[in-house]
Symmetry: C5
């Protein structure tokens, strides 16, 4: 994830063009460039196709429809991105609320249970990150007592496992009388949020924009770029080449950014800083439950967020 | 449901044109093609209609209005698709949360009840799939004790029946003292979600975009395509034929995709993978309630999701 | 309410033009037709107004602004329609959930109370329909014990009365110990939904789009149609008449559909099938509470929904 | 607040032009008229500025951007209007639900308390109306026992005061054992809604669209109208004057309606009928709590709603 | 934060151009001005580039796409602004509700606890303001008993600390029997809101619009402005300079306002009046808990809100 400051347009431009998105853009632009160079020389040196005095108004109506579809594409991609961000934000809020609540309710002599919850709340965020990024199952997780971590490895779906253990411990404390009825009811609202967040993220990851739309926009862009040189060559001459490439840069660029943004859980430049958010959760939960956290952890929660390079 | 990868434009194009949506598109394009061929030859060989030097700017304003209506169509169709997906996502989250909760609350010696809930939570998803797709009532459902499954067949609305049985069992356990007041209150939030999801899906299925809008857009497209050849024939000549067919391909295509997408519970290419989601729920619930699930089930939850061809 | 199938364009077109909306459209188109015929003959036979070589680009900018306002109109009208549909969907979900819950909680020997709730839950939907359509107060309601129905007639606002009786009976059963604290808390979430739905529907019905916007769009359409013939007559000649009528058909049509759709509780073609939804609720509640329901009722819940005629 | 019927275009047009919004529109149109008359005569009789054969396409792109900004303006203003309406709708629903609940829970011999709640629930709506319209603090409020009304006058924020008294009485009845734990928990969901509604209305009132946007749209409109006569004078001649005034009428009109609509709590024509909604609440609460309400009150809740003049 | 009145266009224009946003606008406009002056003189006096008779329709299609992207930019920026405002509105509502509730529940002899909550609820708003604006940690906070304030300084995340203390005190009072089960359950809904609001604000602050979009729009604007003078110079001559600068003023202006608005927690003109809202909360909470508040505090909550200068 990269943030930028208001006045750095040129570093931003430079930086953008080194990203993987940019490279897949270049690849397409090269093909389009070759095509338009071919068409231009064919027209100007050899055949004289009739189409060249076509009215461009006709093209403009199609261009507007294409623009509206690209707006639709951009809106849906951004909605996904933002829904994913909101889900992780909810996870942060919920983790903090749960930690503040448990800190007040769990007596200070229940050190085992206090440690268990401190570690487990943060572990959920890490396990969800691993799950969404197909990382190693228990990367970043911390042990929260004797054996809980190894038990988690039996789960195919580790976030489910973390919640299962949270629920088990909560019920155990309720049976022992540490939690009263009112405590249990209050805790429930918080314990349900974890898997809601996990489910939302999985949904965003597994459901792209319907194939037909995505495909249609691509075909439409191809058709538009295919026809474009014939329509402007008469008036632009050799300038047709840069003009078509520039238009293609914009149209293909919007489509490619849309595809990158719509799954915000990857590790590309535009994606969400899941790892850093997970560290923030760990930091906050430790602070709220009054556990010491080493300085490196604090750094992990802060760094690589607002860095533009 | 088909997902696609960033760089596979050509397989995607090929694949799209073999879908049922594509065939109903071809049928319309053939009629439009015949019409435009007729008009073109009539104009160029016989009568010389006056309309041909009409200003296309006029057409362009109507084209923009039509584009905006198609955007409206696309947005509403997509909203339905996404609302359906979100409802099934909520079902997944809720099933997991309920399983994690019951696993903690139900004592391990209550094997009957544990099995009942394990099977019944997953059965809800399957019964909803059958209900939405008008499949056989109990296809995919698993017995959850003695006779519960056969009782369900008495229900016209099987998802209702599943929830009725979940509520009955919950109340029974509350009466027996297994569930306390706090447990019952906590369970309530989860038990209500099932029928909410069912109702949302039924609503999406039974309420299309208002007839007048849907109709209006169709008439508008017809009028636009009807007038188009007269306006461009003078400048395009025989190229009128491909030009009109290309424009029709785009306009009719957007409308047809809209109709396909707006009911996301069918079994066409763009529709939601209900069956696979139901298997995921079964898999998750079994894992959380610590029941063994055969390997084939695991495959059913994973497969045919990210397959493009 | 009419649904349509993908391939029936021509029946749809025929059907649309027999609706009340269509007739109020015809009336306006006739006036516009007379106006444009007058202008055309005046121009071509008598005076030669200067305006005719005006640049249509200027018209096109105003046309785009008008198109955007019509999109705004369409979006807000559709949002109301859909919000109304969603409210009734919530009513269905809530009625089912309440019936499933009460079926589990009310002992089977409490036949009076079981019957009371079965009838009353369905009565709410019917009373809301009557309220929204200004029908006779108790049309469609069924007696739910001795005298409850006649008591309802004392209420100016019958849906309020139904909820008042549901709350009274709930409280009575709580006092008698049939409902425990936990039951009462769980029931509360469901009992509050009824009047929320009623309030949402009343709000949609009583609050149209602000008068100024609605008016402004009308004036804008009138101005556009008024100016249009002068701008195109030079190039279109007698074809001005069909051209202006066609454009008017589209602009006035979108505005009229917007007005029809924005109050979805009437009995016009595009409106919501309130009566059928109410019957569905009655059917579902009876099934869930295990009461026999006659075959005609089942038909009422199914019929006239997907019929196109 | 004015509603209108489908077919009354001309009364609507007449009525609109007598509203305060219209007069501030006239004032601006007169200035614009003077400006464009000046420009026209200067051009046609004296200097011959070069700009007149400018391509209007350039203007059209800026016109589209301006149109989109006006759409943005319209959408945000309407969202505020509708959010305000929704908040008051929630207030109606909540007041009814609370009354229906208290009617069931409060024993019939608790006449004092029943009267207190009956009066106080309705008083909240009136106090909120006064607060939003800066009316006299206790206008429309009814005494709800001995001294409660005079106590309210000590509050700077009367709606806060009403809720404070509702909470105090609720707590008192809980201490006396009239309300059980379950009652108190159920009541809480309803008692919190009052101040949520108040806060939403205050937020809408105090937070206009950000100054920069509002300003930018104004400057853009001014620039557009300033440049317009130079671009069309060559082709329109003296018709430039009505053309520019007509365009200004539309652009300035949309902006002015936006400003009027975005604060829906005033007393202008388009604003919400707060007073009538408050009377409806009083009427409903009395009916539900079985208190007699005089006929004039019933009229106040019905009248001046659907009146167009 | 600045509000404005309907008729003050000219003070608004004057005021806008003295804001920091305006200055960063000027800086860009100067560069653009130099560029366009250079191009104009080069064209008219020296070289005669071929591009000048290019059809501007082509530019118009790109202009529409750019306009739509700017609309997208504006919408997302405004959504952030409004989401931030809504979060603080929720904080106001919640603080009031909590104060009204505690006032009723806490016995009047519990002066210590009453004072603690009075101070701490308001302190949350101030600590959140400091946190979002990176101000001094405890600026504006008031002591709420012995030592609580100094304890807060140990927290890295002070809002978390405030909630931790609120939860601790609540739990303590529950243990002492001042709060019953029902009280505790009711309080929970309110106590969770604080950190939800904090999390929403942090999310808005730390997640700008994805870098690629933001960058793309900038590049697109640059390309558009770069090409523009070549396209219009033939017809505009020296008027090209003001025309291009005017267009740049609008395009760059919209982009810059978007960047300013999207983080609404700064101290610029358009940002939210956090400090004043926090004072309003303090005022309201004191009034509801019946604590005296000095007159200066009342002024702080009212002033500098509706001031335009």
């Amino acid at each position: 994830m990269i943030t930028y400051t208001k006045n750095d347009w040129f570093p931003a431009i430079w930086h953008f063009h080194r990203s993987p998105t940019a490279f897949s853009l270049y690849r397409r632009l090269i093909w389009i460039g070759l095509y338009v160079i071919g068409v231009t020389f064919l027209e100007l040196w050899m055949v004289d196709l009739r189409l060249k005095d076509t009215p461009t108004e006709f093209l403009s109506t199609m261009g507007i429809l294409l623009s509206l579809l690209l707006l639709f594409r951009t809106n849906t991609a951004y909605d996904r991105f933002y829904e994913g961000r909101r889900a992780w934000g909810t996870l942060v809020n919920n983790s903090r609320n749960l930690a503040a609540y448990l800190n007040a309710v769990l007596p200070s002599d229940r050190t085992d249970d206090r440690l268990f919850f401190t570690k487990m709340i943060a572990n959920f965020a890490f396990s969800l990150e691993n799950h969404l990024r197909n990382d190693e199952k228990t990367a970043g997780l911390e042990p929260a007592g004797d054996g809980e971590l190894s038990e988690l490895t039996h789960f195919d779906h580790v976030p489910n496992g973390v919640v299962a253990q949270l629920q088990l411990r909560t019920e155990k404390l309720y049976r022992e009388g540490v939690f009263t009825d009112a405590h249990l009811i209050n805790l429930n609202t918080m314990l349900l949020v974890f898997l809601d967040v996990a489910g939302i993220c999985e949904r965003i990851k597994s459901t792209p924009i319907p194939f037909s739309y995505s495909f249609f926009i691509k075909v439409f862009i191809l058709m538009y770029i295919f026809v474009l040189p014939f329509l402007i060559i008469d008036e632009y001459g050799y300038l047709t080449i840069p003009a078509v490439v520039a238009v293609s840069y914009i149209l293909v660029g919007i489509e490619i950014i849309g595809e990158e943004i719509q799954n915000p859980f990857g590790t590309e430049h535009n994606n969400l800083p899941l790892s850093q958010i997970a560290h923030t959760i760990r930091l906050n939960v430790h602070e709220l439950m009054q556990y010491y956290i080493p300085h490196e952890e604090k750094q992990a929660a802060k760094s690589n967020f607002a860095i533009v390079t």
